[in-house]
């Protein structure tokens, strides 16, 4: 049985807002990384709306860290907005909330990037 995974992109000034839906596991993480790398190649920051992520595996956590580092190396930003309970629990478990750029909403994330 294959689980649902979708990415919906919306452009805002200087950034792409990616609404991620479904499970972030080893398979879907590759898809997310590729999508974000396309955004990065266009020199835009990215906002990941994680409100509809029902599950995140360690590979998904790894992807969030790798993306943050890759975008930072290019002088761009990654903001994680509106975390679902599943994502929030795991990030808190690993004490990663202080390392990642987390916003309560997409609007806050847009403001963080514009600041």
């Amino acid at each position: 049985m294959s689980v649902v995974f979708e990415i919906h992109e919306k452009a805002v000034e200087g950034a792409a807002v990616l609404r991620v839906v479904g499970h972030l596991n080893a398979k879907s993480t590759t898809q997310l990384l590729e999508h974000c790398r396309v955004v990065r190649s266009s020199k835009r920051s990215v906002i990941l709306n994680l409100s509809e992520v029902e599950f995140i595996a360690s590979s998904g956590i790894g992807a969030l860290l790798a993306l943050t580092e890759e975008f930072r190396e290019d002088g761009l930003m990654v903001r994680y907005a509106d975390l679902s309970s599943a994502v929030d629990s795991v990030l808190r478990l690993l004490n990663l909330q202080e390392f990642l750029g987390i916003d309560e909403s997409v609007e806050d994330a847009i403001r963080s990037i514009a600041a």
């Binding site: 990384l33 396309v38 599950f55 360690s58 860290l65 580092e69 930003m77 478990l93």
Partner: protein
């Protein structure tokens, strides 16, 4: 937080630098610049021409002035000759001169004097009778006019003076002086200059408007071009610049559009390249994970191997593993095709071997089974050569079969000779229809103390010298093996690798190179295994379910019986979930957990953490044990609120037999217990993997971020109160995860508070 701060600082810095650039370099419009230049050139040209023209005009006017002064003087002299013959010439001359000066005010000097120099005619009658004297500053004036006798021309700063004699019948009666103001020329020139200036202004106004208008029209495409380039700078490579011009600007726009298209293609290529590199890296990691990490020791036997891929990933494969009856399986294979394609087939082969190795005692039967499965999936022309042997350490015998693989070398200690064992099996997947069964047969070889068996792939013996003339070949291998055999398996491998590298010289490795050595070490010379996997260094496993306690392989790894007891207990009391060995199959975990009353009643965040941790543990088994391929099953039990099992050996023995039966078909029943404490037990029969020595990831290390993986154990260890992996029990590999929701909630609360 520091990440965000750095990025924000960089953005602010770039914005500031951009602002500074804009302030320090004022921009001028091309239209204004070209118009100013055009006007300037026009003004310069007109002024230059005007200056030359004025000089010529002045010269002409001066000449005309001389002529006029001379003419006026001669006329006046002619008029005055009759008047001087009268008695009162003043009466005639005075009105004449006054009237003349009135009509021609530029004639400032009009004098008629007799031969004695007495003034007889002057516009100012008060001067009549006075002596006529020419101004002392008047000097002779050079003229090109022909002067007659007694005529002369003088000039000072103000006047040009013509002197002419008054004659009558050959006698000179006096003379006339006529002086014209030089300023008259300046006045004429000034008037001409003013007219010229007016014309210039009108011309300039028209010229400026025309140039400005033309430039505006010409520069319109440049605005479109600029906007397009800015759009490209912002990353929009999709929208072309629409400039339909046949000028150079149009050509430039076409070039920029082509550049954007090339850039887009380059970006796509780069992303694709990165993706492929990442996938290749992943494939390499997966492939290396399929190979044994350590050598294996069993009784007096030591099995060791090495693999070097020609590319990032290769098509060679080797493995050695415990079989249920204490024997050891040894496999070496070479997939036709290297790189990613070879790696994929190799992974498939590894999974198939893992699935079937316990089911066949005959190597040739196993190879035939592998052929039966591979032939369905391999592409036409693709095949696999494979050696598979089963070592019985107790009997010192190895039974093996070869599907088109390289000859097997056996070093005999007692003779010092190297024997070659060749079989006639055809490669796996080469011919459909099971023809391979007629070609495969099992061979037996006895390995006495000091004997040593070497199996390898063709990348070893077919290594070419730098000139490409000669292969390394078997005779050289015989020599290397016989020379190093007495120092053990490790020496044989390292010496072969060194000899191959020396033979190849500076040329690149063209094929994957794999060597496996099975050596029966001399008594007292057995090599200790360094850092080996606990399962692999354990003694031979027992075929019967006897309750002998296997030696504890490492201080932090439980004895086999302890792990077996967990499984038995789980089978008796736990609630089981059967999982497929691919990652998609793991999605069943969530529903199963939700269905457990004790877990379903927990806080959502706690449930999600349990789900994540169990998923990670199961994903480890699926990935490392089964290569994340479907086709096999493994099991996880949930036991709620149970103390650590203290089963007697008799209990274990009685219950153990039921484990295999249950894990093959039936689900168990559950006893519900406390919702806050419990444990998960995983049982799998995949390939054992080395448990990582988890010490907690340092998330402040940037290398960890870039690596972006390997955090599964962090999740498992932080959610579970106890994590144990015991591979290689007689029932399979066992994982124990103990859970206490009160501990987790405390931890969660601490993290929420940021303590």
């Amino acid at each position: 937080m520091s990440e965000t701060h750095d990025t924000t600082t960089n953005d602010a810095l770039r914005s500031t630098m951009k602002g500074q650039r804009q302030r320090s370099k004022p921009r001028f419009g091309i239209r204004l610049l070209v118009t100013l230049v055009g006007v300037g050139i026009t003004v310069l040209a007109v002024l230059s021409v005007g200056a030359i023209q004025e000089r010529d005009t002045r010269r002409t006017l001066t000449s005309e002035l001389e002529a006029r002064a001379l003419l006026e003087a001669r006329n006046l002299a002619l008029t005055s000759s009759r008047a001087l013959l009268d008695d009162f010439p003043e009466l005639t001359l005075q009105p004449l001169l006054t009237e003349k000066q009135k009509r021609q005010p530029e004639l400032e000097l009009l004098v008629v004097a007799d031969r004695d120099g007495q003034i007889l005619g002057h516009p100012d009658q008060r001067l009549l009778g006075n002596r006529f004297e020419i101004a002392t500053d008047a000097l002779p004036h050079a003229t090109q006019r022909r002067l007659q006798a007694d005529e002369s021309m003088l000039a000072n700063t103000d006047l040009l003076i013509a002197l002419a004699p008054i004659e009558y019948l050959g006698q000179t009666l006096g003379r006339v002086a006529v002086g014209i103001q030089k300023s008259y020329i300046d006045q004429l020139l000034h008037e001409a200059r003013m007219r010229q200036a007016m014309i210039l202004l009108v011309v300039l106004a028209f010229a400026g408007l025309i140039v400005y208008g033309s430039m505006t029209k010409l520069l319109l495409p440049i605005d479109a071009l600029r906007r397009g380039v800015e759009r490209i700078g912002r990353g929009d490579l999709e929208t072309p610049i629409a400039v339909d011009e046949r000028t150079e600007i149009g050509l430039l726009a076409d070039s920029v559009n082509e550049m954007a298209a090339d850039l887009k293609q380059a970006q796509a290529d780069m992303v694709e390249k990165e993706r492929l590199a990442r996938e290749l890296e992943l494939a390499r990691e997966i492939q290396s994970g399929l190979l044994p990490e350590n050598k294996q020791e069993s009784g007096s036997f030591l099995i060791d191997g090495t693999h070097e891929a020609a590319f990032e990933v290769g098509g060679d494969f080797y493995d050695f593993f415990n079989l249920p009856d204490g024997r050891i399986g040894v496999a070496v294979a070479d997939v036709a095709g290297k790189g990613l394609a070879g790696c994929l087939v190799m992974s498939m082969l590894s999974a198939l071997l893992g699935a079937f190795r316990d089911q066949y005692d005959s190597p040739s039967e196993l190879l035939a089974k592998l052929d039966e499965r591979l032939v369905k999936d391999l592409m036409s022309g693709s095949f696999v050569t494979m050696f598979y042997g089963i070592l019985d350490p107790e009997k010192g015998k190895m039974c093996f079969a070869s599907a088109g693989h390289m000859p097997t070398l056996v070093f005999r200690k007692n003779t010092g000779a190297v024997e070659e064992y060749r079989t006639k099996g055809i490669p796996l997947g080469a011919i459909k229809g099971g023809a391979i069964r007629r070609t495969l047969h099992d061979e037996w070889v006895d390995l006495a103390d000091g004997d040593l068996l070497v199996q390898y792939t063709d990348g070893i013996n077919e290594t070419m010298d730098p000139e490409g003339h000669e292969q390394f070949d078997l005779p050289r291998m015989h020599n290397v093996v016989s020379d190093a055999a007495e120092t053990g398996a490790g020496a044989v491998i390292s010496n072969l690798i060194t000899a191959i590298a020396d033979f190849r010289g500076d040329t690149a490795r063209l094929d994957d190179e794999t060597i496996v050595v099975v050596s029966r070490e001399l008594a007292g010379k057995a090599t200790m295994v360094d850092g080996g996997s606990p399962a692999l260094i354990a003694g031979p496993t027992q075929a019967t379910p006897s309750l002998e306690i296997a030696p504890n392989p490492a201080p932090n790894v439980p004895a086999e019986e302890e792990a077996v007891a967990w499984v038995v207990d789980a089978q008796r009391r736990g609630i089981r979930l059967d999982l497929q060995s691919d990652l998609d199959g793991l999605s069943a975990i969530r529903g199963w957990l939700e269905g457990q009353d004790s877990i379903g009643s927990l806080k959502t965040s706690v449930k999600e953490l349990i789900w994540t941790a169990v998923y990670e543990a199961c994903a480890n088994v699926a990935e490392h044990g089964y290569g994340a391929t479907n086709g096999a099953r493994f099991y996880v039990w949930w036991l709620s609120d149970l103390p650590t099992p203290q089963l007697s050996l008799a209990d274990v023995g009685a219950a153990e037999a039921a484990v295999d039966e249950e894990t093959s078909e039936e689900h168990g029943t559950a006893d519900e217990g406390s919702p806050i404490r419990g444990r998960f037990v995983l049982l799998d029969r995949g390939r054992p993997f080395s448990p990582d020595n988890w010490s907690g990831t340092d998330f402040s290390d940037p290398k960890v971020w870039r690596k972006g993986r390997g955090f599964g154990l962090d999740i498992i260890h932080r959610v579970m109160t106890r994590v144990v992996y015991r591979p290689g029990t007689r029932h399979g590999n066992v994982t124990l995860l103990c859970f206490d929701s009160t501990q987790l909630e405390k931890k969660e609360l601490t993290n929420v508070r940021g303590l």
